[in-house]
């Protein structure tokens, strides 16, 4: 420790300030998380006796025909889910933020409206879209017909080929407010002097954005990317609400979160298995940790942060 900022007093008050937060956080978050990780190396008996099982649960997860096909499918679906968010949600969020950042009363009004779906519960969103896309009600179909695309319509949520993409796009529709507001906050933080010079030189708005503003908000681009990754590999509510724990049709929308829930709690005829549930959670932990570390190593360390 370097020389203290101030005269070091008896640190009892420091302990008092820190204790409640540290205790609560440790007891209800860190310890259960570590306990779950520990449990993934154990086998549970009927009376809740634990027997050390080494890597057996993991081997089972990767090879047993009751788990492996589901695991790999959930992982693949989750990657598609993430890819759609990165390709659709974040670019559109950036576009909207760039347009909103120009300011003005009308744009503040749009900002409020566009952020609105983000504050609603996923359960509500899931049901709303289920109704809108329901062929029985026919709202989506009439809308498409109005713009001459009536033939496009199909039972998108019910067909295995389209269900995952549809669910992903609904999630994009809901959460677009998060990248939008983060990009927006970064963009309005850029001082006018920096773009003024370019404008005087006759640069177009397009050039100014990509040559000046975008490089300045690269740190935010990274944060949005890693938040999307963590959020997507932790997602559950939307698919559970729209397609149930079985993530139908035929597991076409099964992602890590729903797979974890089923493994832990069981489904229909199959009993829940806490040890295997913990193993799935441990894999999710590893995936998320890898993503976060890659971000910290390759993005946060290399991208220049400018003090504006």
């Amino acid at each position: 420790m370097q020389e203290p900022k101030r005269r070091f007093r008896f640190p009892l008050h420091i302990a008092v300030f820190l204790a409640p937060a540290v205790l609560l956080y440790t007891l209800f978050m860190v310890v259960p998380l570590l306990n779950s990780l520990r449990l993934s190396f154990f086998e549970l008996g009927n009376q809740d006796q634990q027997r050390f099982a080494g890597l057996q649960n993991y081997i089972k997860l990767f090879t047993d025909s009751n788990f492996a096909p589901f695991f790999w499918r959930a992982l693949r679906n989750n990657l598609v889910f993430f890819a759609i968010h990165m390709l659709v949600q974040n670019p559109i969020g950036l576009l909207l933020a760039a347009l909103l950042a120009e300011g003005g009363r009308i744009r503040n009004f749009f900002r409020t409206i566009i952020f609105m779906p983000t504050i609603l519960s996923v359960v509500i969103i899931g049901f709303i879209w289920q109704l809108i896309l329901n062929p029985l009600w026919g709202v989506a179909e009439s809308m498409l017909e109005a713009v001459g695309l009536g033939d496009w319509f199909g039972p998108w949520l019910g067909k295995p080929e389209t269900a995952l993409i549809t669910v992903s796009l609904i999630s994009v529709w809901q959460f677009i407010g998060i990248p939008m507001i983060l990009f927006y906050a970064a963009l309005i933080g850029i001082p006018d002097e920096l773009t003024e010079a370019a404008r005087v030189d006759g640069a177009t708005a397009w050039d100014t954005f990509w040559r000046i503003k975008f490089p300045l908000i690269l740190p935010t681009v990274g944060i949005v990317g890693v938040l999307t990754f963590v959020g997507n590999f932790n997602a559950f509510d939307l698919i559970y609400t729209m397609k149930g724990a079985n993530a139908g049709p035929d597991f076409a929308t099964d992602i890590m979160g729903t797979f974890f829930f089923r493994t832990f709690f069981g489904q229909q005829l199959q009993l829940g298995n806490p040890a295997m549930g913990a193993t799935v959670a441990a894999m999710m932990f590893l995936i998320i940790l890898t993503g976060v570390l890659l971000y910290m190593y390759f993005w946060a360390r290399r991208v220049q942060t400018y003090e504006l």
Binding site: V16, L24, L27, S36, S121, G189, G277
Partner: protein, 282 residues
């Protein structure tokens, strides 16, 4: 540069393109919600016959709301959600601010390590510890209690809250605190003095911690699934599951679940957004 009539016309078109894009997206964002709101006040015939129009004298009906009020414990769901969200938020703000004060104010050994430890939870979702949390809750006899949910949500919200508040407290001028100390104020008094100054950060914390708590389905489903402790999100989810085919009831319950949040959002959206952007401007 020469200005031709064509280029002048193009300039004025260009001026409107952003507004056109924003308008289209605002419609996309608003349309599904409006569809639910207006159709919840119609008869079944009206819902299917004229979904795109506002309710009129012919098809106006509150039958959906009657079913919901009869069959679902909405007031109880709201109360549960309000208690859980409010207590968790208050607890998070208080003990989060205390920890943030300690981290930003004192240069004690292990400060950086403690800050790192407390920030792990920003990136690692608490859900991954669910197996351990359920066992802990069973052990503490907190299954099917609101207390259990409050403790989990406080633990979940603390890391980000401490992170944001630490940044904020670093900006409070030192003179203010030192003047109080010279006057003989204890460290606890100094903390009490600083606390109101971080109010601008509360909006951002609210948006990033309170909304996920109010909307969460996972922990109510796993830790507190009973009818007595059901939150709005869980209550609506279960109600909708039972009444899928009763369109009036489904639309009415969705509307009831949305209205309080939408009203709060419209009232506070300016402050919330200003609070988020304040951090970036400094």
């Amino acid at each position: 540069m020469k200005t031709t009539p064509f280029s002048r016309m193009w300039d004025s078109i260009k001026h409107f393109i952003p507004l056109v894009i924003l308008t289209i997206y605002a419609i996309i964002a608003l349309f599904p919600v409006i569809m639910i709101l207006i159709n919840s006040f119609k008869t079944r015939k009206g819902i299917f016959g004229a979904p795109f129009t506002f309710p009129n004298a012919e098809n106006f009906s509150l039958v959906g709301y009657e079913t919901v009020i009869e069959r679902a414990e909405f007031p109880s769901y709201f109360l549960n959600s309000a208690i859980v969200t409010f207590v968790a938020l208050a607890l998070t703000l208080l003990i989060g601010a205390m920890a943030a004060f300690a981290l930003s104010e004192y240069d004690f050994p292990g400060n950086a390590l403690m800050a790192l430890y407390l920030s792990i939870g920003i990136m690692i979702p608490i859900r991954l510890g669910t197996v351990g949390i359920l066992r802990l809750m069973v052990g503490l006899k907190l299954v099917n209690t609101l207390t259990g949910l409050i403790l989990i949500y406080t633990a979940q919200a603390l890391p980000l809250t401490i992170f944001i508040l630490t940044q904020f407290m670093r900006q409070v001028p030192r003179d203010l605190k030192d003047a109080a100390r010279i006057d003989g104020a204890s460290e606890y008094r100094v903390f009490g003095m600083i606390l109101p100054l971080v109010r601008p950060a509360v909006g951002a914390i609210g948006i990033f911690t309170m909304i996920p708590i109010w909307n969460d389905l996972w922990f109510p489903l796993i830790i507190a699934p009973s009818e007595q402790t059901a939150t709005v999100t869980l209550g609506v989810q279960q109600f909708l599951g039972q009444f899928v085919s009763d369109w009036n009831a489904v639309l009415a319950s969705l509307t009831l679940a949305m209205i309080p949040i939408l009203v709060l959002y419209i009232l506070f959206s300016q402050q919330m957004i200003r609070s988020i952007t304040a951090g970036s401007i400094k």
